[in-house]
Symmetry: none
Subunit: 193 residues, 4 copies
Amino acid sequence: MSTSLRGGQAREDQLLSATLEVLREVGYNRLTVDAVVSRAHASKATVYRRWPSKSDLIVAAFMNATRDLPAERDTGALRGDLLGALEDLLDEMDRFGDVMMDLLGELGRNPELASTIRDGYIATRRQNLIGAFARAKDRGEIPADVDVQPLWDLAPAVIFFRRYNMGEEVDAEDVRVLVDDVVLPLAFRFSAG
Amino acid sequence: MSTSLRGGQAREDQLLSATLEVLREVGYNRLTVDAVVSRAHASKATVYRRWPSKSDLIVAAFMNATRDLPAERDTGALRGDLLGALEDLLDEMDRFGDVMMDLLGELGRNPELASTIRDGYIATRRQNLIGAFARAKDRGEIPADVDVQPLWDLAPAVIFFRRYNMGEEVDAEDVRVLVDDVVLPLAFRFSAG
Amino acid sequence: MSTSLRGGQAREDQLLSATLEVLREVGYNRLTVDAVVSRAHASKATVYRRWPSKSDLIVAAFMNATRDLPAERDTGALRGDLLGALEDLLDEMDRFGDVMMDLLGELGRNPELASTIRDGYIATRRQNLIGAFARAKDRGEIPADVDVQPLWDLAPAVIFFRRYNMGEEVDAEDVRVLVDDVVLPLAFRFSAG
Amino acid sequence: MSTSLRGGQAREDQLLSATLEVLREVGYNRLTVDAVVSRAHASKATVYRRWPSKSDLIVAAFMNATRDLPAERDTGALRGDLLGALEDLLDEMDRFGDVMMDLLGELGRNPELASTIRDGYIATRRQNLIGAFARAKDRGEIPADVDVQPLWDLAPAVIFFRRYNMGEEVDAEDVRVLVDDVVLPLAFRFSAG
DNA sequence: TCATAAGCGAGACGGTACGTCGTGTCTTACG
DNA sequence: CGTAAGACACGACGTACCGTCTCGCTTATGA
């Protein structure tokens, strides 16, 4: 019940919120620790005591904001599960789009950051998709001899590519086409197409 | 035939080469304009006269190095064309991997740079794939009612995602699986699978 | 009693000392802020936080070094007072000669600097001379109807002119001649010449 | 009668005029060769072919503008000669005041410039004063045993000091006082005062 | 009359210093 | 003790200016 602990937690949240705000406003490159510190009425020492570098701070802010996993949905059919999980992805992209783009770009420059993001963010999101395929196979929806592993990342890959590399908008209809015309036919071997 | 133009060109090339060298050695973040300038026995003014900022310089160096398009291959069959084009992509990734990763990350921060890269680099590479599908359709290899557009970026998307977002190595065998198990079945509706 | 203030003061003194050293070694024109900074094991920001430009820094270094006024001498006779004050001037010229020459030249280019130097340096030195004449008049050494004001700057003017405009050396004997043959005859109306 | 020579001469004058204009507008420090060149619609090579450095150019411009010596006046009396010569000095100060101040300051930084200015400018002006004293002595106006050499520079020294070091205005009345109350009494040993 | 050279405007260039900014460390004083 | 405030060393940035250089163009003499 110590105030200092809760205070510490609360302070941490304030710092991360301020970081996220600044991140949204000016992007990774132009974010300065001074700006964060000034917005949070904090001191640089307070920041650096917790996160040893600017990029740690930013990653922490991102991880904190995306801490809540989208709930795993079980609609009873692969199609519904996929559409649900991918819509969650789209949602998060809408809310953290530019920040994610920023961070994705940072991955190549910062291996530590990369593994944090991959293990802490991407991997957790992927679980929902892996789960969807696993349930479909358990249900017999997918033929037993189909290797689903290559299908896991198909839809996210295309969504990421279009959005982050090609700079295109991706909406629910695009996702539906992707699921119905690409992923499901491969999963079902056209038997249900 | 003017020497001045070629002289200017030559200087530019030297500067871009030096930039690329430094880029390869220390990466985007630790590249300094001073290092480039010193390697090229040039002056900062000479650099900044051409490229208004460090990132412009780096992009120019990348675009210059990847100016030469991989030749379009026509093997007479979609499979061969795809494998060829994707191997070229893999090759280029091997040669410019880290730099590309760096630049990809820059896209989200710099819209101008993004369109330069997209129009000048990605779009040109995509042409080879688009061409491969078009020829296959002309030959009747692909059923007339199959919409090939969603298939263009499928393979590159997966390759980019695995390599740049997931940090995995991608080799020729992975590409072969991708083509044989994902792209071609969709293109041929399993008829030739 | 705050250590921070003294600490700040101390740092300032170190910076100004380093500045003066470099100034002595290479002169105003070839002094670089980087050299100062490197000698003081300081950072450019630390310098520029205090003095907005290189010339401000140099002036501050000069003012700091000449902060200590030469003691006012009272020998009981005008001649002794004058010779004493002028010898002090010569001394200071020997110690800060080139720097003063440098700064003198800066006066015409920088009005703010000019008033700083005039009020903070020249005016304080002149006080000793003014005092000498005042005491002489009080003692009755100088006839009551002699206007001494034109005599105040006579000797310094000649010394400055010879040294800084004509580039000649000026020594104690020159000063003696100046006092005995020019200033005193005018002050005493030749009565005591 | 060659056009090239006259052209060369004319071009030289244009360059020096442009230099003087810029010098008047922004002063020695902020004058840039590029600004001069641009104003004269000339090329840097054209300037540097004639004057090897910026300061040479500026000195040349000054020397060119003050090429015309004030005529030596012979009023038949020392007082008139002195007042005449000093008024000429005041005139020139009015016309080239700031530039002279600038250059004077530069003397301490640039020995070559210093001797050029001293021999080419100051020395020539001093001739008029030296001549005035010589004629007065020849005429018997000044006692034969008076050493006039210390008197030569007395008035100019005071005028320079007041104007350039103290930043005061000096007008004809000041000069008159200087002559009547300082120089002439010393020259005449008060016999004519 | 023409060509060959010399001077020129334009402006790129190497170099050097400037003054600014950001990071991560560290110190001071307060609560 | 943890914190706000902010100074500090380091190092890169992008700008400005100097003095050198190269480029074509124009002009002006000498074959």
